[in-house]
């Protein structure tokens, strides 16, 4: 997995693309009933709004196209976020992430931090919930599940590691963290996968979880109609607590990795909803498909060697800023992402975590200023810089464009193009190159830190440490509400001003839908399609 998939997971043998946080969840009973529910959440009160209820009987079959290689496992504790669709159909999360970015009840009807410092988090569970295997949900199941998540060492496990999970009542679970964690509600949604709760039977036999589903979601895997690696068939879970939110008699997730084949399948009505691809957006639009895309990723360069171990000039912030000024973002955006990308100098997409409108144009294209900064830093004639790139989403083409642009400022960018994703990650995260091309999806800033900018982060392979950044991060961990938003922005501002990166464009993941379905909207805080909201058009 790639920064694109938010959590700095390298490799995954070329599994790139798809949707991080592709949600699938039937909403809570109260929500389905159209009732507005007020929830205690995240140190304050969050108001849940009602989704549109299912207006009639379920549709026949929803066929979903998945554009990345098939998942290696269906185990929610181990599956990376970009495979969330496969788990979320069958596993109900503790907290539901909606397409508008709001949080709503899932298996937990309410949740809140207690005390100060974001270290104790209490969840109150829904009564009468049964798993697809017929067993009833208990607080102990949830506590055991979260323990299993940590033990499984999956993508999100570091954010729960060291915590204790206790059933403090028949339907009450208390999480005690060893250090402040302001993002428990987000982590426990379907988008981060680990919020999907496994039944006691599944926890007793984890080997089953790779190819079966043992959850309390609206559907369950039909193994007899599933061909691993090709198509995964889900049928309604007879024990699901809110049958009104089961919109389909069958959901088939089909793996189609070729973008043109995916488009053809949609054109011929074989598929109703799919991950799109930048190369087919124009054709999809002209065909009459609904194209949905909300900026979610930034693409650019990680100037990793901020200590100057391999490339001494990068230790100087003026040099890093010069590279930002030497970048003609608009030209690259127009050339490589016409109609889908927007030039930006910051990491956060519009409306995302830490987004500050004033930072979008923090580094306007100015070669003269770049040269001035290089001269001031002691490099009036420029310098040579090695960079490694993978081939995801045109990042290799972006690297070639940068090589030409930075040449104008006297910087000789030497590009190593490594199409093998495993090798690319080994080179990038192994501190073999002072800089590497990056595609990174937005996530809450506190979650982003350990993978992107803190000293141990994968995207910080030279382990650059900053006391002021660490201080902001620690404050952010204890914050909530408006204060947390402000601190997110301050962290963003620090990263931009210190030019740790060269963000170039922000892009969204496109999704295609035919006229046979509705509910494919996305938003800034939930830019990935929430599959559970997809329902028949009529």
């Amino acid at each position: 997995m790639r920064s694109f998939h938010c959590m700095a997971a390298p490799g995954s043998h070329g599994n790139r693309g798809a949707g991080r946080r592709t949600g699938v969840r039937a909403a809570a009973v109260a929500l389905a009933a159209g009732t507005s529910v007020t929830l205690a959440a995240c140190g304050g009160q969050a108001t849940g709004t009602s989704p549109t209820t299912s207006s009639g009987k379920p549709g026949e079959v929803l066929t979903v196209g998945f554009s990345v290689q098939a998942p290696e496992t269906l185990d929610p504790a181990k599956a990376p976020q970009n495979y969330a669709w496969f788990e979320e159909l069958a596993y109900e999360p503790l907290i539901l992430q909606r397409s508008d970015g709001s949080l709503a009840p899932g298996l937990a009807t309410s949740w809140s931090y207690t005390g100060t410092g974001n270290t104790t988090f209490v969840l109150h569970l829904r009564q009468g919930v049964k798993f697809s295997d017929g067993s009833s949900l208990t607080a102990q199941d949830v506590a055991d599940d979260l323990g299993y998540v940590v033990k499984s060492a999956g993508q999100m496990s570091p954010f729960l590691a060291g915590d204790t999970f206790t059933a403090t009542g028949p339907l009450t679970v208390t999480i005690k963290a060893t250090s402040p964690n302001p993002d428990f509600p987000q982590i426990l949604t379907q988008d981060d996968v680990v919020g999907d709760i496994i039944s006691a039977k599944g926890l007793r036999s984890p080997s089953l979880l790779g190819t079966q589903t043992l959850g309390a979601g609206p559907y369950m895997l039909d193994a007899s109609a599933t061909v691993t690696g090709d198509q995964y068939t889900y049928i309604p879970n007879p024990n699901y607590y809110d049958k009104a939110e089961v919109h389909w008699k069958k959901v088939v997730v089909k793996v189609i990795t070729d973008p043109q084949s995916m488009l053809n399948a949609m054109k011929t009505g074989q598929i109703e909803v799919a991950n799109g691809d930048p190369t087919t957006i124009a054709a999809a639009t002209s065909t009459g498909l609904t194209v949905t895309s909300t900026p979610d990723l930034w693409m650019g360069v990680t100037l990793a060697d901020r200590g100057g171990a391999l490339a001494k000039p990068l230790a100087n912030a003026q040099v890093r800023m010069a590279l930002n000024y030497a970048t003609d973002r608009s030209a690259i955006s127009k050339a490589l992402f016409p109609g889908t990308g927007a030039a930006t100098s910051q990491l956060a997409p519009p409306g995302g975590y830490g987004y500050d409108p004033s930072l979008t144009s923090a580094y306007p294209y100015d070669v003269s200023k770049a040269k001035q900064l290089l001269a001031a830093a002691g490099y009036p004639h420029g310098f040579s810089l090695k960079i490694v790139t993978g081939d995801y989403g045109g990042e290799n083409l972006m690297a070639q464009a940068l090589a030409q642009q930075w040449q104008q400022a006297g910087v000789n960018l030497q590009v190593t193009d490594d199409a093998n994703s495993n090798q690319f990650y080994a080179a990038a995260f192994g501190a073999k190159f002072p800089a590497f091309m990056t595609v990174f999806g937005q996530i809450p800033t506190w979650i982003e830190g350990p993978s992107l900018f803190l000293a141990p982060a994968s995207y910080n392979p030279f382990h650059t440490a900053s006391a002021s950044l660490a201080s902001l991060y620690q404050q952010e961990a204890r914050s909530s509400g408006a204060q947390q938003v402000l601190l997110d922005q301050q962290i963003e501002e620090y990263l931009v001003n210190q030019a740790w990166f060269v963000p170039i464009v922000t892009i969204g993941l496109p999704y295609y839908a035919t006229s046979a379905v509705t509910g494919t909207a996305t938003s800034a805080k939930a830019p990935l399609l929430e599959l559970y909201e997809v329902r028949p058009a009529s």
């Binding site: 390298p10 060492a153 089909k254």
Partner: protein, 316 residues
């Protein structure tokens, strides 16, 4: 006969051993390993200790000969191991993908054989403008890239005129109709080159046979041209054609990878590519084993065909 059977069996076993051993060595030489791929896919960053533990758990910290022997031992006991990622038995995974691949491959061989032989006969016997047209069509079939033809066929026969599905595979066991429709476009795509090959071989071979003395003698005995061609000439000309069909079948094992991707067919080729990318050695070995078995069977069929077609080979 028994001696031939034993000889075939021994050579087949040697072939299977060599192919799987070679695959094992080559796959092991690729950069990275399954432990890295698994740890990366799960959490991104990992410690050296975690890496070593994972290598040990997967058994890939053992010397290569030991690993291969373990795999071979599994084969001798009827198993091909388990997928390192999903934990599923490799045989179970590959069996599910064998049907789609064989459907396409066998379908392509049949279509190529029937159409190629027919065109070859026409070209050899009629000559003139018709013969040249057949030659031109055959050459075009060879020249057209598969993936391009696939896209054209999809656009014409799946998107514009919705006769066939654009993607996917319907199992034969469920319903023959959808199965036939699902493999039609992949088979047509792959057959373009196969038809050309077979047609050219048929034409060359038949032309050569038709010029032999025994054909003249048969005609002199008053046999009709139709009878001479179908009952005598074609039988003599068939051996090189059968050879080409055998080679075509073997070549299709690798050739289906791209087409499986374009048509989103869950075949062995796609599985091989995925497994190679993730260093999933048991699956890689399993695919190699399956392919090798298909090659062995193809060789057997070709040998049997030789014997049926030529009495002389029966005597050797």
């Amino acid at each position: 006969m028994l001696r031939d059977a034993v000889r075939w069996l021994v050579s087949s076993l040697v072939l299977l051993f060599v192919i799987t051993a070679l695959t094992f060595v080559l796959a092991s030489m690729a950069p990275g390993d399954a432990a890295k791929a698994i740890l990366s896919s799960q959490s991104g960053s990992y410690t050296v200790q975690q890496y070593q533990q994972m290598r040990h758990a997967l058994g890939i910290d053992q010397p290569l000969p030991v690993q291969y022997w373990r795999w071979l031992d599994g084969v001798l006991h009827g198993g091909l191991g388990a997928d390192l990622f999903s934990g599923q038995p490799v045989t179970q995974e590959l069996n599910a993908r064998l049907g789609p691949s064989l459907s396409i491959i066998v379908g392509t061989v049949i279509v190529s054989g029937l159409a190629g032989v027919s065109l070859g006969i026409v070209s050899a016997l009629r000559g003139g403008a018709l013969g040249r047209l057949v030659d031109a069509v055959s050459l075009a079939g060879l020249a057209v890239p598969n993936f391009w033809l696939a896209l054209v066929l999809v656009e014409l026969l799946a998107v514009r005129v919705q006769v066939f599905p654009a993607t996917g595979y319907a199992p034969l066991s469920a319903d023959p109709g959808p199965w036939l429709r699902s493999i039609a476009l992949p088979v047509l795509t792959l057959s373009a080159g196969g038809v050309a090959f077979v047609a050219k071989q048929t034409r060359d071979s038949l032309s050569e046979v038709m010029s032999r003395d025994f054909i003249v003698m048969l005609r002199a005995r008053g046999l009709s041209r139709r009878s001479v061609v179908l009952r005598h000439a074609l039988r003599n000309a068939a051996i090189p054609v059968v050879t080409v069909l055998g080679l075509l079948l073997v070549g299709l094992l690798g050739g289906t990878v791209l087409i499986e991707n374009v048509f989103s067919i869950p075949g062995l080729g796609q599985e091989a590519v995925t497994a190679a990318g993730s260093h999933d050695l048991p699956v890689i070995e399993g695919v190699a084993f399956y392919f090798a078995v298909v090659v062995v069977i193809a060789n057997l069929l070709v040998d049997v065909s030789y014997r049926l077609l030529s009495p002389r080979t029966r005597e050797t």
